[in-house]
Subunit: 356 residues, 2 copies
DNA sequence: CTTTAGCACTCGGGGAGTTTGAGTGCTAAA
DNA sequence: TTTAGCACTCAAACTCCCCGAGTGCTAAAG
């Protein structure tokens, strides 16, 4: 059954007011808020209907109404106006997006912090890749006769390195041989495919090369592993204490505990949202996790490039300002996609050349 | 004035009991706890003296006594027995110290988390270097005609890399030239010494090389910069809610806000402790930061190698279990020092060789 | 001089009772 | 269908009072 215009107007007023004040709204207050030219008694009748239909709740008989999760849902789906960010706000975000370090982890971490600061809610951010990562190339750099740097690059164009110090001497040709060997034997393999079997074969081919193969490969495996179980960065968890619904320390504690279970967040919350575009809003009981049953989550996904995607999200009371949060989150997500979309090197290089 | 043995015994009992229960201790309870064969009245007299001397406090006239910061200080200095960790505990720490990734940032982050989990208090960890870092060597790896990887190694043997994609073509000899150039012009320089002046000279020497110099150098500068302003990792902030002294949300919030000001922690708390060995304990008002005036901090420093040091610390109520926390922290710090002290490569390499 | 028993006193915490006021639901009239 | 009016409800805030743990003081005993 479709609601009448007037009912919608009232529902909307209740939601918006409650988002601001966190207090039940009574019929009298609604008279003014809605601007409807009807008496409070009429509004009371409407409120009774809306309560009957499950859009509103009453903390106790003699209190005003507050939105139920169902009410929020209707509000988010139909009543909420797209919030436009102010110039000030977009400028702020744009500034913050000018991150110095472009290391993937750091950028994601920073993005999470930024969102948390922007919204005043706890936030999290992570990257996830749909396909299993593989190594694309190996390089070994001789530092001195007793140490070398291994550089591995994944198919997602992520580059990692590690310095190895050896108890024995090492020569350039030796390293070259190793490099070729690594590149022929292990490129394009996923983590599971790097079997001990394969290692043994390659090690044998390496001859007397000190088991260096296994060292570098196990480093590569660490890299692949950390990529598959991508880290979740949380930020601003203390913000939940700002909101009256978490004045009860017990509740705050539960939510915080949940937020520090990073793997759970990744699996159950963020990853399912990877492929949804735009902002996704999960209200109270719509959340799978028990700990989030009376909180809400807003998620947005962004493109990292090379098929990788990421998710940033915000957690807060069901009473959170969905319009604003969703707008900010989407804006940041877009910004990140653009950031990753542009080549690392702005074509400033050639421009700098004097001679044209 | 030196306290009598009996007074010390009483003070100690008060502190230890209060650490457990967070409740004021009365004279009757102390009769049992101390094992002294005197009446409660006698103890009351002693308590009055200790209060007079500033070692104890009374929340209100008709309550028992709790230790004052001065009392804690005496306890920590003279009365506290070195806590020995149980086998179970050392095993737990040793296990946790077997970290997979040996990337510096991650290790430090992990260490902080571990300590927090171990002690049930919020913890932080950071690395700091006394001397200004410089770049030790540059390497450039050609990936394909339009991209290359820059690898820089600092004097602290930290290696960082970055992938550059270019709008133009690139050749191996070109890269080699660049590498030599970079290594002659910029090695051994601190951040300030990498002046625009120097850059211009080097760029000029590079001839038509597309301003690549400045790209790589500015990456190097980022690395140096991030090394100088080393990150602070905090973990387990939600643990403060476990303790009754922070049931007051306002207090918890203040402390949490402080803990998220990572730069402040670094500057005012951790860095001063860099060169103190062993555990350092700061009780309540001994802290410089206003926000910590009624909390305590335990710090321990560890060696990273190459002259770099790090600090891990724990923040909690003044009532925290100093003996246990200090013991755990020292143990972890030692473990970290050892971890960094041993070469990256366990000499397992040669051992793996079949043919001897 | 120290220790002890005894006793009056203090003060926070918790429970019961009361008041207040915002807000409701219902009814009867417009 | 809307409105005015009115009785009713209930949480929150306040007051009052009791309880008991614990103190400080005094006077006597060691």
């Amino acid at each position: 059954m479709e609601l009448t215009e007037r009912k919608k107007k009232i529902l909307r007023a209740v939601v918006e007011r409650y988002i601001q004040t966190a207090e039940p709204i009574g019929s009298r207050a609604l008279q003014e808020l809605t601007g409807l030219n009807v008496s409070s008694a009429t509004i009371r009748n409407e409120l009774a209907d809306l309560t009957e239909l499950g859009y509103l709740e009453q903390p106790h008989t003699s209190a005003g109404r507050i939105p139920s999760p169902k009410g929020y849902r209707l509000y988010v789906n139909e009543l909420m106006e797209e919030q436009r960010l102010s110039l000030e706000e977009t400028r702020q975000i744009n500034d913050a997006l000018h991150l110095k370090m472009r290391e993937l982890d750091k950028v994601i971490d920073q993005a999470g912090r930024m969102v948390s600061q922007l919204t005043n809610y706890p936030a999290f951010a992570l990257a996830g890749n749909p396909k299993r990562p593989t190594i694309k190339r190996f390089d070994l750099i001789l530092v001195d006769s007793a140490s070398f740097i291994a550089v591995v690059m994944t198919d997602g164009n992520l580059v990692k390195n590690k310095l190895f110090r050896l108890p024995t001497d090492l020569s350039e040709p030796q390293l070259q041989l190793l490099t070729t060997l690594l590149n022929t034997a292990f490129v394009g393999k996923t983590l599971d495919q790097l079997t001990p079997e394969l290692m043994r074969v390659a090690e044998h081919a390496a001859g007397g090369s000190y088991g260096l193969i296994s060292l570098v490969v196990s480093f590569a495996m660490e890299v692949l592993d950390s990529l598959e179980n991508s880290a979740v960065y949380t930020a601003g968890t203390s913000h939940i204490l700002d909101h009256p619904e978490y004045q009860d320390v017990g509740k705050a504690q539960k939510l915080m505990a949940y937020l520090s279970e990073e793997q759970t967040i990744a699996q159950s919350l963020a990853l399912p949202a990877l492929n949804d575009d735009g902002a996704k809003i999960l209200i109270g009981p719509e959340n799978v996790a028990e700990e989030l049953k009376d909180s809400s989550v807003v998620l947005a996904s962004y493109d990292i490039g090379d098929g990788m995607k990421g998710v940033i999200g915000v957690v807060g009371p069901t009473r959170m300002d969905y319009a604003k949060v969703a707008a900010k989150l989407s804006y940041v997500a877009d910004g990140l996609s653009k950031l990753f979309g542009t080549p690392e090197l702005p074509p400033a290089g050639p421009a700098k050349e004097k001679e044209e």
